[in-house]
Symmetry: C2
């Protein structure tokens, strides 16, 4: 049996549940959403074969899941609520139909979990490798869009979970911290937030650069995953936690009084908020280890253009 793009759209439509914000889903020139009075969040992320995943290792369903998850994580990083996604794919010709269906089913599972409609897309076959691009729109949350630029000297810096070694599996199977970011806003005024995708040091550096401040991280307080501890590549667990990236935990800053309350109450079910350092007026990124402070290079993965 072969299927063309119109069969695929029919197949998608049958599997698209109704959603309170969706007026028109897949199949017209554009999807149509009911407007909201909240500021609109917009994000896109693209996953490319052999760069973000190995198809044979991950399988198409986990690739589909990740393609949506990385975008959900960015909505979480703004403290927002996801609403609807559109999905573009470039499929290698061999096995394209199976790939398309599995990608969709991987997304569907996560979309249902996060009340996110999949409202359209563009499905193509080509001679290249698998590429999946998701764009996601969402509503800002109760504190409005939480930017990278709101950190203030003296703020306490938190992360929502242990870091490092995500290549062992978490980079595919992580749960985007959408619910947690909304819960946090009930307990503290979040000054700045992002999701850790480039690596803790690089991402804290982004907060500092955008906020015009510096930060001191305390090595002993940085939570490290079991996966990072088990890696045997000559880099320490701490180096993995600082530099690996794709952790998709949130890093955020709050005023000290809010920080103290968060530490004492630990109000988020299922996770332990870790106070990993403080923002300072002096620019730059520093690591304090055994009571010694040294500059910390903003390690992390960066796409270099040749």
């Amino acid at each position: 049996m072969t299927m063309d793009e119109f069969d695929y759209i029919r197949w998608l439509r049958q599997r698209t549940p109704p959603h309170p914000r969706v007026v028109v889903g897949p199949g017209d020139d554009c999807a149509v959403l009911r407007p909201s009075s909240a500021p609109l969040l917009v994000k896109t992320d693209m996953l490319l074969a052999n760069s973000h995943f190995i198809l044979e290792q991950a399988g198409p369903r986990r690739v589909g899941r990740k393609a949506l998850a990385v975008n959900l994580s960015d909505i979480a990083a703004m403290g927002g609520r996801p609403v609807a996604a559109v999905v573009s794919v470039g499929l290698p010709r061999h096995g394209a139909q199976h790939l398309a269906e599995e990608l969709y089913l991987g997304m569907r599972e996560l979309a249902d979990e996060f009340d996110t409609a999949i409202v359209g897309g563009d499905t193509n076959t080509w001679d290249g490798g698998l590429v999946v691009s998701v764009a996601l729109v969402g509503d800002a949350g109760p504190q409005g869009p939480i930017l990278r630029s709101g950190a203030q000297p003296g703020d306490w810096l938190f992360v929502t979970g242990p870091l490092g070694g995500s290549i062992q599996g978490k980079h595919l199977d992580f749960t985007p911290r959408v619910r947690e970011a909304l819960q946090l806003q009930e307990h503290a005024q979040i000054h700045a937030m992002l999701d850790i995708s480039d690596g803790l040091a690089a991402d804290v550096n982004h907060i500092c650069a955008e906020s015009g401040c510096g930060a001191v991280l305390v090595a002993e307080r940085i939570p490290v995953t079991q996966a990072a501890r088990q890696m045997r590549d000559g880099r320490s667990p701490l180096e993995h936690a600082l530099g690996d990236g794709e952790d998709f935990e949130l890093a955020f800053t709050v005023a000290p009084e809010d920080g103290r309350r968060l530490l004492a109450k630990q109000p988020i079910p299922g996770l332990t908020l870790a106070w990993i350092g403080d923002c300072c007026a002096e620019s730059g990124l520093y690591l304090e280890e055994n009571g010694q402070r040294r500059p910390l290079p903003p390690l992390g993965y960066v796409h270099q253009f040749a």
Copy 2:
């Protein structure tokens, strides 16, 4: 000189003019747009090397332009106003920086022409060919979202310009009919509309399928481009006009009294609206040529999944 993705984001930010709807542009986890009370239109389209363009022939600037233009055309097809785009690219490693800049400049030109903000994206290098995915959000226009499903038996079917042979150049250089679709709404109640991307016959068939009606096209009334007349591949100019696709003209239906007025007034500056046929209650697509009616297969390009 080499540039990394953060240099590129800085370069983009310097070239991003302010826009009344944009609260936060490129550089944070998500872009933030001011909400509107109009229904929100969302669309994505992906262009893939050697499938939608030949990079060496088109050049990266025209590829960037087209990547945005095809999405603008879909907003036009809903009768809407574009607001903001996000752009994901997968760049071959060789010459990636030049490619990234040229793609952006090609989009920028069209974005300025259509008051569309470019608010973010995801820039990657990989071992594959060039892939560009744009997602666009817009506001519905004065008549609300104009769907494919609103055609009624008896409606007159129009196109906004001559068709066929777009492969000769128009598929890259067309101007999306955003302004024209808005102007049309001042002069007629549009029942159904889409942009001709798959080919006239296939696209009219989409309107019929969604509206639960049929259509009769009149061969002598279908406007054909010079490019289609000059092609020497054994297919007639009419066959090119019916089947080529990527014309990016609009096809729409109106009640006969509105159709008569449009024909008499020709109210859209710079183009001639062509009445090419009628919708009918009987399902199916038909072509009338020299007074003879025959079934018309919904020709057009369809991505087949193996």
